[in-house]
Subunit: 384 residues, 2 copies
């Protein structure tokens, strides 16, 4: 399923912002009857102009449309860049016959360059003319936000007479708190205005914010949720939040699979921390450690690096209690060597790291990737 569901139309077009000529402008329109919206944004202090703008839009709890462009982040572009975002929203609003404050804006691409506004405006006109409620239109929308992504990412979960789904982009800089990650989720369920924000925050916390590709948290990260209510069906209590979480998790799995240069899908689970937050922090320390990540790339069961990384995490435990299990093999028990590390076969695509700190009941999981030659290759020449 895509971003297109009952009450929504979408389009994705090539406006010439990307020099490659690939699609680079997406428009998603909510035709109602409801126009509820919620959003979660980057925690980076350096926020792109579209983030600053969309935070104001979302503060109203409503939105009628989202316009997204790839090919330029419109970050570190000063008051002029903010003016460009404002003008973008004004243009979409004029075309759709709504107010600018009803239009959220997202951008992704190189930081520090102004957007070619003439091309962007023409692209918006083209997209508006192509708006449709078809699966093809949804895929076009998911395609036009791609940067180094190799495939569009779409997901959806059906409820009882209603559904939720959407698209996401992001293939690097995915890290604590959604770096260079854009996602738009839509639902035709009938929801109360107060339901959206907590459901979205809860879903993002346990999905997008648990994927750590390279520790960067970008200037542009945005996850938006739009609600049309067009199904006329009100979900049973709790079912919407769970469906939203499932849709986000599906998108995260696709982001992990398409991460830059990835050869391994690594799942790090920490148990026995004092709190769940502590467990997540410990898992993140392993997921973000370059020595662990290069060992994963080499299919090397070098558990000492994992012990080193978890020992640097801001979490209390007794090193003499530390257990580490790699793909089911208990390679470290009670802080010392367990079974022969050579028994842990990491040559496949999936690597599971289980750590038990034996210091409490806290549990947390973080997804990551390996650090490969492909990652270095893709990231060593980008801006020039």
């Amino acid at each position: 399923m895509s971003v297109v569901r009952s009450g929504f139309r979408a389009a994705g077009v090539a406006a010439g912002i990307k020099s490659s000529g690939a699609k680079d402008v997406t428009l998603v329109v909510n035709d109602g009857p409801l126009d509820l919206a919620a959003g979660v944004f980057t925690t980076n202090k350096v926020k792109a102009a579209p983030v600053l703008w969309s935070q104001q839009v979302i503060a109203t709890g409503r939105a009628r449309a989202v316009v997204l462009n790839s090919g330029g982040a419109n970050a570190c572009t000063g008051p002029e860049g903010f003016g460009d975002t404002h003008a973008t929203a004004e243009h979409v609003a004029a075309v759709l016959g709504v107010g600018a404050v009803d239009v959220a804006v997202c951008s992704t691409g190189l930081i520090g360059e102004r957007l070619p506004m003439d091309r962007l405006r023409a692209g918006i006109d083209d997209a508006a003319a192509r708006l449709a409620g078809t699966a093809e239109a949804g895929t076009d929308a998911a395609t036009a936000v791609m940067t180094t992504d190799t495939v569009p990412k779409q997901a959806g979960v059906a409820g009882d007479g209603w559904s939720v789904g959407g698209f996401a982009k992001g293939a690097g800089m995915c890290a604590p708190n959604m770096a260079t990650m854009l996602a738009v989720l839509t639902t035709d369920a009938v929801l109360d205005p107060a339901e959206l924000d907590p459901a979205l925050r809860a879903a993002v916390t346990t999905t997008f914010n648990r994927l750590d590709v390279d520790g960067g948290t970008s200037t542009n990260d945005t996850v938006l949720l739009l609600c049309s209510g067009a199904s006329g069906v009100r979900p049973a209590p709790g079912t919407f939040a769970e469906a939203l979480r499932a849709a986000c998790a599906e998108l995260v799995a696709q982001l992990q699979a398409d991460a830059e240069g990835v050869t391994k899908h690594v799942t790090v689970t920490v148990r026995g921390a004092g709190t769940d937050e502590g467990a997540v922090a410990a898992a993140r320390a392993v997921a973000g450690d370059n020595l662990c990540k290069t060992a994963f790339f080499g299919s090397d069961p070098n558990w000492g690096r994992i012990a080193m990384a978890v020992g640097n995490a801001p979490v209390d435990f007794d090193p003499a209690d530390l257990d580490i299990t790699l793909n089911g093999v208990p390679v470290c028990r009670a802080g010392t060597a367990g079974e022969d590390r050579a028994k842990a076969d990491l040559s496949g695509r999936d690597v599971t790291v289980e750590i038990d700190l034996h210091a409490g009941e806290g549990v947390g999981t973080v997804l990551t990737t390996d650090l490969s030659h492909g990652y270095v290759e893709e990231n060593s020449a980008y801006s020039t």
Copy 2:
């Protein structure tokens, strides 16, 4: 200059701990008349047995000898591993006719494997027989601690009738707080017992702890300072601490130059933070960011990644005031594009990143390297 100076003898031998047959046991002996010592150790919660042992030795403020081995970290080896370290100190003590509590121990290599104690004991006997006060012996000592280092690192600073110097090892996992970094410094100056520890801590804080190669902080990091007083000369106030800092800085420059897979020497200086600590934290956020490090590898003046990284640092500033200068070119001014990024030529070996937050008087510098194919290659197959 090396670890060998007036009052000291050293040796480095091949004991067969490394399968390569390279030198792997170092012995440094202080013949006095003073036997003062100080040490700084890893902050990792998972501390190797030799760290736990040497912390007890250094707590006395005295040491007569240091024995170091490469080829095995003796970390995550449990009570048996601690017993091995204790036995190592006992063996050195018996050979030298001192007490075991006079002997500090350092180890480096793979985590989670016991040391071959028979070989280590034989190596100690061999090293004791070869102890000498020559430059060759000092170089042997510096060589036998090497792991993935390609060259031994030695430094020295001469005072007025006294001197300070030593060796260091470490080519990866060099990061906040000295990961997999071992260093032994010696001086023949006449010092008060109370002078050593603050001088060493101050020197380490502004030298070893400002080098960040890959964010890992190891289980074994140790910097030791031994004082023989054999010159009979008491340095003028302040001059010893400054000479010690200079010797440490010389070693750090060599560690940076020999970091695994390095093609760039990167110096990140942050000015205008609220405090010096904040400036160092901001510089560390840039130095530790994989997207910045791959851009350095690609000689890519992608300053947006630097803005992104500093925006994630735990330091307050107004993004609209951010200045970034790359190799002297002001590529970002007041949070937006400054001069054309293409003017910043990063193709040479040295890259200088200057960041001004305009939020105070704090200044700090962190040294780092690029993230290269060579780094991935060296670190993706190590334990097996």
